[in-house]
C-alpha cells in the first residue's frame, strides 16, 4: 500500500467515530497496544524533547524500505505516533520524503501537530523525514 492508501484507510476508520470521545479512546487504545520501540533504542540519542511529552524514534532500512519504531511517555502522543508510524513505516524513502500529514486534519487531530503544542510530534515528523533523506542518499 502507498502512504496515501494507508492514510485513506485511517480516514475511513476515523469516520466511523461519532464524537471526540470515541476518537480519543481509539487513540489511547492504539497507544496502549503497540509495542513501539525496543528498549535498547530508548536512548538519549533517539529522544526528541517536547516541553510536555518526550518522544523516542528509531529507524532502520530493510529491503529498500524504512522501518520506524517510536515511543512516548504520554499515551495520547503515543497513539498519534502509532498512526503516523503506520503511514510512514514500511515505505520507500522517496515516498516518505514526499508524503504530507494533511490527513491528521481530516481525522480531527490537527491540534496535536501544532508547532506550539510542544509534545515533540512536529519534531518527530521532521526526524522521520530526515531518516528518509539519509536512507535515500544511501540507496543512490
Amino acid at each position: 500500500m502507498t502512504i496515501e492508501d494507508v492514510q485513506n484507510e485511517i480516514i475511513d476508520e476515523f469516520s466511523m467515530f461519532e464524537d471526540w470521545e470515541e476518537r480519543y479512546q481509539y487513540m489511547i487504545d492504539l497507544g496502549k497496544d503497540l509495542p513501539l520501540i525496543d528498549e535498547k533504542y530508548k536512548t538519549d540519542d533517539n529522544i526528541i524533547k517536547g516541553c510536555q511529552s518526550k518522544v523516542w524514534v528509531h529507524a532502520n532500512l530493510e529491503d529498500d524500505k524504512v522501518q520506524f519504531t517510536a515511543d512516548s511517555d504520554a499515551i495520547i502522543t503515543k497513539g498519534i505516533i502509532a498512526i503516523l508510524i503506520r503511514t510512514f513505516s514500511n515505505q520507500h524513502p522517496k515516498a516518505i520524503i514526499e508524503a504530507n500529514t494533511d490527513f491528521i486534519d481530516q481525522i480531527g487531530l490537527k491540534e496535536h501537530l501544532s508547532p506550539t503544542r510542544a509534545n515533540g510530534l512536529v519534531s518527530m515528523i521532521k526526524q522521520l523525514k530526515m531518516y528518509a533523506i539519509a536512507y535515500q542518499t544511501q540507496l543512490k
Binding site: 471526540w20 470521545e21 480519543y24 516541553c51 510536555q52 518526550k54 511517555d73 504520554a74 499515551i75 495520547i76
Partner: protein
C-alpha cells in the same frame, strides 16, 4: 462576603464555550481573566486619548500622561510604597527581575553570594545564573522539604557576610506554597543583604505592604491580577533604585544628551526608556481598583474555601497525589494521578472545556525534586465556583477512566 454570581457577570469570557462545553477556567496562575471594567478602560484609552506621554504639549498627550501617572499613584497606594517614583513600570515580572539583576552586575564582585529558593520559577533562576556568570558571584539554593516548604534552618546556615542578595518568590507558581518572606527579609537584612521578592503569584491573592515587609524589591505582572498582559511593576526602595544603573538606554530615561556625555533622568524615568505600555499601565491601575472594590480579605477567604473544597474532592480520587501540601498555600493544586502522564489528562480535560496547566510549570528543579515529569495544575480565582470544581472532578474522573 463576595457574591460570585454577580462577579461572574463582570467577566465576558466566562460565558464562552470551549469544544462545545462551558469553559471552566482553572489556569489562573498562568494568567487571570479580565473584567469588563478593565476592558472598558482599554477601549476608552484607544478611543479617546491615545497619545505619547511626557513630551507632548498638546491636550491628548497631557491627558494620557495624567492618566498614566495617576495610575502609578494607584499602584503606589495599593502596595503602600512611600514614594510614587519607587514604582517602576515594567513589561512584567520577568522584566523587573532582569532589571534588578542587570543593575547588580556593577555592584557585585567575585566571591559574593546570591541566594535563591528551590521553589523558583525559571525566570527567577536564570537571570541570577547569568548575573553570576558575569560577576563571579556564587549562587546558593535554599532547599525545600516534601511538603514543598523552604527549610529555613538551611537558609540561616547559607547566610553570611558574603551574601549580597536573596531572591525568593512570595508564592510558588508550581505548588502554591506561601513562603515566610517576613522571616527571610529580616534574616537577610541582618547580614546586610538585599531582598527581591517575586510577587507574580501572590498579588492576585493578597495585598503586600512593601513598607511593612521592609522588602528592597518587589515585582509583579498585571495580567495575573485581572489586568492586561505586557505590563507590570517593580517596586524598589529609593536608596536602591538610586544605586542601580539604568537597564536600557533610550528616550524618556535621559536628562541631557550630547555625544560627549549623557546624564540620566531621575526616578522613575531612569528605568523607563522608550514609549511605555501607556494603556497597559492605566488598565493595570483599573484592575487594582476592581480587585480592591471586592476586597482582598473577601477574595482570600473565598479562595481558601475553594481550595479546601477542591482539595477534599480531589483526594477522594484513587491514586491522586497532591504536590505542595504546605499549611500555608494559595488556591493552587498541583497533582498527578497514578502513573498517568499529566499531558494526557490535560488533553482530555480540554475536550471537556476544562482549562488546566500541565507540564513542569517553568520550575523544572521542583519536578526533579519530586522525580516527576510534571503535574496537572488547577488554580482558582475569586470568580470560580464550587459548581465548577464539581464539574472538573467529573471531567477528571472521566479522563482517568479513559486513560486507565
Amino acid at each position: 462576603m463576595l457574591n460570585v454570581q454577580d462577579i461572574r457577570k463582570d467577566f465576558p469570557i466566562l460565558n464562552r464555550k470551549v469544544n462545545g462545553k462551558p469553559l471552566i477556567y482553572f489556569d489562573n496562575a498562568a494568567t487571570s481573566q479580565t473584567p469588563q471594567q478593565v476592558i472598558d478602560v482599554i477601549v476608552s484609552y484607544y478611543s479617546n486619548y491615545n497619545a505619547n506621554i511626557h513630551r507632548g504639549v498638546h491636550s491628548l498627550s497631557q491627558e494620557a500622561t495624567d492618566a498614566y501617572e495617576k495610575a502609578r499613584i494607584t499602584i503606589q497606594k495599593h502596595f503602600n510604597a512611600k514614594e510614587a517614583h519607587e514604582i517602576i513600570y515594567t513589561s512584567g515580572t520577568t522584566h523587573g527581575i532582569n532589571l534588578v539583576a542587570n543593575g547588580f552586575s556593577s555592584l557585585l564582585k567575585k566571591g559574593d553570594e546570591i541566594i535563591v529558593s528551590a521553589l523558583e520559577h525559571h525566570s527567577n533562576i536564570v537571570p541570577w545564573q547569568m548575573l553570576c556568570e558575569r560577576t563571579g558571584a556564587v549562587l546558593k539554593v535554599i532547599p525545600m522539604n516534601e511538603d514543598g516548604e523552604l527549610i529555613l534552618a538551611d537558609f540561616d546556615a547559607l547566610l553570611n557576610e558574603a551574601t549580597k542578595l536573596v531572591f525568593v518568590n512570595h508564592i510558588s507558581n508550581a505548588l502554591g506554597t506561601i513562603n515566610p518572606i517576613e522571616y527571610i527579609i529580616d534574616r537577610a537584612h541582618s547580614v546586610g543583604a538585599a531582598v527581591l521578592v517575586d510577587g507574580a503569584q501572590s498579588c492576585p491573592h493578597l495585598k503586600p505592604d512593601v513598607q511593612a515587609l521592609d522588602v528592597d524589591f518587589y515585582v509583579c505582572s498585571a495580567h495575573k491580577i485581572c489586568g492586561p498582559t505586557g505590563v507590570g511593576m517593580l517596586y524598589g526602595k529609593e536608596e536602591w533604585l538610586k544605586k542601580l544603573p539604568p537597564y536600557q538606554g533610550g528616550g524618556e530615561m535621559i536628562a541631557e544628551v550630547s555625544f560627549e556625555k549623557t546624564t540620566y533622568a531621575g526616578l522613575p524615568h531612569k528605568f523607563e526608556a522608550g514609549t511605555p505600555n501607556i494603556c497597559g499601565g492605566i488598565a493595570f491601575a483599573a484592575a487594582l481598583d476592581y480587585m480592591n472594590a471586592i476586597g482582598f480579605e473577601n477574595i482570600a477567604a473565598y479562595e481558601n474555601e475553594l481550595l479546601s473544597y477542591a482539595t477534599e474532592r480531589l483526594l477522594q480520587i484513587d491514586d491522586l497525589k497532591i504536590f505542595g501540601t504546605s499549611e500555608e498555600k494559595t488556591s493552587v493544586i498541583s497533582f498527578n494521578v497514578g502513573t498517568i502522564h499529566p499531558y494526557d489528562i490535560g488533553t482530555i480535560l480540554d475536550k471537556m472545556g476544562v482549562a488546566v496547566r500541565t507540564g513542569h510549570h517553568c520550575a523544572q528543579p521542583i519536578m526533579d525534586f519530586f522525580k516527576i515529569p510534571g503535574t496537572i495544575r488547577a488554580s482558582f480565582m475569586f470568580y470560580n465556583t464550587k459548581a465548577e470544581i464539581d464539574a472538573f472532578v467529573v471531567a477528571l474522573k472521566k479522563a482517568i477512566m479513559m486513560l486507565s
